[in-house]
């Protein structure tokens, strides 16, 4: 079931939670809504679900599920599954009854026989690997188990659209990782359309087919994780998707200077701010004719496949972060207090007015 939003806006009193938004989600897609706190992710998700009404203005917005206009359809008739951030399990019902709820409240005509309900609930519980806990009450389950029950409950009614609000927000890193993989698997197997909210960029990039990046009630960019990371549309998206190093200085005659540091760049004269990712910083013992950026190592932390190195210098307003491979790390024999030279491999600039990106790659 595809989802289409036309001109959906939302005000709470005087605060505008969503600027008019257009969004197309294809059938079978898994889409992540990513953005900082207060950017309107939950609001957008709840409007899709029908838990919240979009503004009714002169040109009212429209929500389509496939060809069906659901703008004025009550949440209970939209046939969606909603997974709440804090699970919202019914505390007085056993796990079994929670999962069966959606089936038992169907009108008598559409309700399956009790045997069939039982079979379906157990199939779902098996899928979420909780069939042995069917008689427990929610209070007797761990957070991860509760979240899986809440997923099974939402899936029991076989929704064509599954909406999840920070589904793994309250869980620890390891359980999150596991549930993430498991949700992806489930999505591919059952073939529904899913939209989930997260403020964790790693989660969004890992799990989604496409990511919707939001800030201040606006959609900043919609793209595949790969595209998003490689070609961010603006500075906000670039900064939100990972660590960023800033270099600010004056350009004259193709040389950017900043204190005693300088660097050849192909830019017109004027004030400039350049942005680079940590892996775009190379470290050497000697300066080159192209650049002279002396730095001092202030901290070293090995993280997984790479080593993160923190750099400081007089000419830097904020410390830089560089990631180096373990082999380079050993080769250079890096240690704290060591003085080195940094070489940007690749940088971006986002001029404030035009919001157009300039990129330049240097062969190092």
């Amino acid at each position: 079931m595809s989802i289409r939003l036309n001109n959906i806006a939302k005000h709470f009193g005087n605060t505008q939670a969503l600027e008019p938004i257009n969004l197309d989600i294809h059938e079978g897609e898994l889409v992540g809504l990513l953005g900082p706190s207060g950017s309107g992710k939950t609001t957008l998700l709840r409007i899709i679900a029908g838990l919240e009404n979009a503004d009714r203005t002169a040109q009212p917005g429209q929500i389509l599920f496939g060809d069906r206009d659901v703008t004025n359809v009550h949440v209970r008739d939209r046939r969606i599954g909603f997974v709440f951030q804090h699970y919202a399990l019914f505390r007085h019902m056993s796990v079994y009854d929670n999962v069966a709820f959606g089936l038992t409240v169907l009108s008598r005509k559409r309700r399956p026989s009790s045997g069939e309900i039982r079979a379906r609930v157990f199939r779902l519980l098996e899928m979420v690997k909780l069939e042995h806990l069917a008689d427990r009450y929610p209070a007797q389950l761990s957070g991860g188990q509760q979240q899986r029950v809440s997923l099974a409950r939402a899936l029991a009614v076989e929704p064509e659209v599954l909406l999840l609000d920070e589904p793994f927000g309250a869980l620890d890193a390891k359980v999150r990782q596991e549930l993430r993989r498991w949700l992806r698997h489930l999505h591919d197997e059952l073939n529904f359309t899913s939209v989930f909210v997260t403020h964790d960029q790693e989660e969004a990039l890992e799990l989604s087919d496409r990511v919707v990046v939001m800030s201040n009630g606006r959609i900043e960019q919609i793209d595949t994780p790969d595209e998003l990371y490689r070609t961010p549309k603006n500075r906000f998206v670039f900064e939100f998707l990972g660590d960023v190093n800033h270099l600010e200085g004056k350009v004259s005659n193709g040389v950017l200077t900043c204190g005693d540091a300088y660097w050849h760049v192909d830019l017109p004269d004027g004030h400039e701010e350049l942005l680079l990712r940590p892996h775009e910083v190379r470290l050497t013992e000697q300066p080159t004719s192209e650049s002279h950026l002396p730095v001092t190592i202030t901290a070293i932390s090995p993280v997984g496949a790479e080593v993160r190195v923190e750099l400081e210098a007089d000419w830097l307003a904020q410390p830089w972060l560089a990631t180096v491979r373990h082999t380079d790390f050993e080769h250079l024999a890096l240690r704290r207090g060591q003085r080195l030279f940094a070489h940007p491999r690749h940088w971006r600039r986002f001029p404030k007015v035009t919001e157009k990106t300039t990129e330049q790659t240097r062969v190092a």
Partner: protein, 275 residues
């Protein structure tokens, strides 16, 4: 946001039903009290209130309330401190025991005091040999009033002090504060509004207690008549306006109690909003 029962029709219907029923069931009696009290004009009301017997009943009622409050206060604070700050066997039993006055019929409460301290009771007969009579006199009224009102302060304090925990007091003790200083400087500021509300409830009940008091007072006009008892006598004597004049005074105290409660709750919610 959509919640169950938010459909405009249902909402209006339920609100209207609640308002109409409450108006008939709760508000109308309140209006009736004052309407009756002033039905023959302010002058008659005033004559009724300033009658010697009425004045004496007011005095006795106030005296009983003034004596009851400190006793209940000390007990309530001590019990709340005990059950929320220490863990010991029998703690739950103590907490259950203080609910007894809520469950016991006021008439039964009066009766058990009468049986014990009356002339035939084992304490009463002993006191009688020294010519001390507690029942059918103001000390008896005071005793049953304390019985009936003792849970209020404790019941207000216990949930609050439980929720607050003892971290702050422990901090004060580690800083070298003595027990009394800890209580006065750390505990008291945290519980003072609950304490005040407990006192207000105690007062309302102490002033208005009828069943228990009517058993032990003897209801002698100008001697052991509290305001509720006086009101009953006037009513039985077919002096309805006089009875309702007393009722209006008591209703006024009740209204002040409600206002105080609303005020304290408003205060608490505002503090929460700023926290």
């Amino acid at each position: 946001m959509r919640r169950i029962g938010d459909a405009p029709l249902i909402r209006r219907l339920l609100i209207a039903t609640a308002l109409v029923l409450s108006a008939l069931f709760l508000l109308l009696p309140l209006v009736a009290i004052f309407a009756q009290a002033f039905s023959q004009g302010v002058m008659v009301f005033w004559t009724n209130v300033s009658n010697t017997f009425t004045l004496h009943a007011i005095g006795l009622t106030l005296m009983i309330a003034l004596l009851t409050i400190p006793v209940c206060l000390v007990f309530g604070v001590a019990l709340a401190w005990l059950v929320t700050r220490f863990s010991f066997p029998g703690r739950r039993i103590l907490q259950t025991l203080i609910d007894i006055p809520f469950a016991v019929s006021p008439v039964v409460a009066g009766l058990i005091y009468l049986l014990l301290y009356g002339r035939n009771g084992w304490i009463g007969s002993w006191l009688d040999t020294y010519d001390i009579q507690l029942m059918f006199a103001w000390p008896g009224i005071l005793m049953v009033t304390i019985f009936v009102t003792c849970p209020f302060v404790a019941r207000e304090l216990i949930p609050l002090m439980q929720a607050q925990g003892s971290r702050e007091e422990e901090a004060a003790v580690t800083l070298g504060a003595s027990g009394w200083t800890t209580f006065r400087r750390v505990t008291l500021p945290n519980i003072r509004w609950a304490l005040l509300y407990g006192v207000i409830l105690t007062n309302a009940r102490a002033v208005g207690e009828f069943g228990a008091v009517s058993v032990v007072s003897g209801a002698i006009r100008g001697q052991t008549n509290t305001l509720p008892l006086h009101l009953e006598q006037l009513y039985q004597d077919y002096n309805a306006v006089g009875a309702f004049a007393c009722a209006a005074l008591l209703a006024l105290i009740a209204l002040l109690t409600l206002a105080a409660k609303a005020g304290l709750e408003w205060r608490a919610s505002r503090r929460e909003a700023f926290a």
